[in-house]
């Protein structure tokens, strides 16, 4: 027998949310304290770096004015004629080349690892990618300058000969009809620097994408196959939508790295301080490479200018990384609530 309660509400009860508190166990208290300190230190370091760059750089920017700083291409702090335009352009250009090459490569590799390879091949590829991520950038730089560049300049030349009508693939100062193998104008370009940076960011992009593709649940995969999907169809309807956050996030993290890459670019480019639209042409620059190059020969005021450049880079990479993690966090929670 069930008891039927009268449908009345206790009138005397206070119908307001009551405060919820719990007594923390000693262990939890300690744990919370330790994690708080850890998190606090990370935030403090970030803030200190930002403050340091701002404190040292803003003075230099103020000297020439923000507008001039952002639009001037030359870098001559001695004569107070310096600006970020050329190196910022170069940074973006190299990063764009790197991303355009690395993104499809990483996507393909990640799909191959998760969807095609099985068994030992899958395992060894995964660890190989992680290994590649651990190769220092100076090694990549040397490899790029002495191994990749001599082999890739002919491709650069071919590209500009046949696709030179696309403005940014044009290379000035060469005679395409000349029978001599003159590849010097194609060396030390943003294109080659971008290729090397691409090789450096492929591993991180691949491993983030691989991880997100693995999360695509078996149930949905089988659902697609049971409808008569081909493997490609299944990837398109299940794996890629589930992995969208990983694709975008991985790409953006790679972009963040590409923007900040220093030594590999430094070893390859021949620095110019003018906006060069031609990616295949000799002469490029990047903020980070310029700072590395100028650092040792700078006096105090030139140092301030470099700090201003560093501040610009810091702000840009912060923005890129924050966007990346926001996208990843949002799509991850979305996938979970839907799964």
């Amino acid at each position: 027998m069930s008891t039927v309660l009268p449908g009345t509400r206790a009138a005397e009860a206070q119908d307001v949310p009551r405060p919820l508190q719990q007594l923390l166990e000693q262990q939890d208290y300690l744990f919370r304290a330790v994690t708080r300190v850890g998190g606090g230190i990370v935030l403090a370091v970030m803030a200190l770096v930002g403050l340091f760059l701002a404190g040292n750089g803003i003075g230099a920017i103020g000297e020439v004015g923000l507008g001039t700083f952002l639009t001037t291409q030359n870098w001559a702090p001695e004569t107070n004629d310096f600006g970020i335009a050329a190196v910022l352009w170069g940074t973006v250009q190299i990063a764009a080349v790197a991303l355009a090459v690395a993104m499809p490569l990483a996507l393909g590799t990640a799909l191959f690892i998760t969807e095609v390879a099985t068994g030992w091949l899958q395992k060894s590829l995964t660890s190989l990618i992680d290994l590649l991520a651990a190769v220092p950038s100076v090694v990549f730089g040397l490899w790029g300058a002495y191994m990749l560049q001599p082999n890739v300049v002919d491709f650069s030349k071919w590209l500009s000969t046949w696709f030179g009508w696309i403005p940014f693939l044009q290379v000035d100062g060469v005679d395409p009809g000349s029978p001599l193998r003159d590849t010097v104008p194609y060396t030390a370009s943003a294109f080659i620097a971008g290729l090397v940076v691409a090789m450096m960011i492929v591993p991180i992009q691949t491993s983030i994408m691989t991880e997100s593709f693995r999360r695509a649940p078996t149930g949905e995969r089988e659902g697609a196959y049971a409808l008569g999907a081909t493997r490609l169809g299944m990837i398109g309807t299940v794996v890629l939508p589930f992995g969208r956050g990983g694709i975008i996030g991985g790409t953006m993290l790679g972009l963040g790295r590409a923007l900040g890459e220093t030594i590999a670019i430094y070893l390859i480019i021949s620095p110019v301080y003018a906006i060069n639209f031609h990616v295949l042409e000799k002469g490029a620059n990047s903020i980070a490479a310029m700072i590395a190059l100028k650092y040792s020969e700078s006096n105090e005021s030139a140092m301030g200018a470099l700090m201003a450049a560093g501040l610009t880079l810091f702000v840009i990479t912060m923005l890129v990384n924050i966007t990346a993690s926001a996208i990843m966090a949002r799509s991850r929670s979305g996938a979970e609530s839907e799964g």
């Binding site: 149930g219 089988e222 697609a224 409808l227 008569g228 589930f242």
Partner: protein, 287 residues
């Protein structure tokens, strides 16, 4: 491929010219007989099914019953070539769809699966798609182009068959993942029906559903009788008795592969079982 509205109801689709033995799935085809012959299955070295033969008559509902782990799901997954998705899995025997073996080397797996649809225990709508897109996902996966009108028709028709239309007709373009569990399961049924399968396999489709949703799904199955051959795995004896025409009882002794102990008309299986073990199982006196 092209698609035409034939007789305003069935959607006719023409096959690519390389010639398939099977008629095309969307050609308004009828229910087909499914005949499993001496099917054995292994996971690695372990044999889990031993020479199971069962004829599932066209347009009828066949229920597979039996205790947990006796190989019902494995058998069902062999019927539409999902078994081979498990890397270590292997099998022997034949599965004949209207007389021709779906494991024939010249046969395309994708086409066999489109003819023999499957609804899983856990509802698995595609989360990135709306209800509308989910329903006709099979068309997109098969690379079939359809006009807006044809799609609209197919969506409504399939959702009605799955008795979901009234609940979702005002929010067709919202995500499929936003439905309740029971609605998601019926969406998955609609999705399977949209490609006009000749056989529909269901692996415990109601085990995660409330009584009302369960009743809805059962009504759907009843309304599909004659149009589609249904093979359903269930642990619910009343359900098996309510919805099925024939019934097959699977059993696996400890560490032995599973096999069919008894099969026949549901009526007979429940009322006059020949085998004592069947009698014990259908009357709930079993392990």
């Amino acid at each position: 491929m092209t698609m035409q509205s034939a007789s305003g109801h069935a959607l006719a689709v023409f096959d690519p010219p390389d010639g398939e033995a099977l008629p095309d799935p969307l050609a308004g085809s009828d229910a087909a007989e499914l005949d499993a012959r001496a099917v054995s299955a292994w996971f690695g070295e372990r044999k889990v099914l031993d020479r199971v033969s069962l004829t599932m008559a066209a347009g009828q509902v066949t229920a597979l019953i039996g205790p947990s782990g006796c190989g019902k799901s494995t058998f069902l997954r062999i019927l539409n070539r999902m078994h081979e998705m498990v890397p270590t899995a292997s099998l022997a025997g034949q599965v004949l769809l209207d007389g021709s073996d779906i494991y024939d080397p010249g046969r395309r797996v994708t086409l066999a699966r489109r003819h023999i649809g499957m609804v899983f225990q856990k509802a698995n709508p595609f989360p990135a798609m709306s209800i509308y897109e989910n329903t006709i996902a099979g068309l997109k996966l098969a690379g079939i182009k359809a006009s807006r009108v044809e799609k609209d028709f197919l969506v409504e028709d399939s959702l009605r068959k799955a008795s979901l239309w009234d609940e979702v007709k005002d929010r067709l373009h919202q995500p499929g993942g936003g439905l309740s569990g029971g609605q998601q399961q019926r969406l998955c049924i609609a999705r399977s029906l949209a490609v006009s399968p000749r056989v529909l396999l269901m692996d415990e489709p109601c085990s995660a559903l409330d009584p009302t949703s369960t009743r809805r799904v059962e009504e759907t199955i009843a309304s599909l009788r004659d149009q589609v051959t249904v093979v359903i795995v269930t642990h619910n004896m009343q359900q098996a008795a309510r919805i099925s025409d024939t019934c097959a009882f699977f059993l696996a002794a400890q560490n032995d592969p599973g096999a069919i102990v008894e099969h026949g008309p549901t009526e007979a299986m429940f009322n006059y079982p020949q085998d004592e073990r069947t009698s014990d199982y259908v009357n709930g006196r079993f392990g």
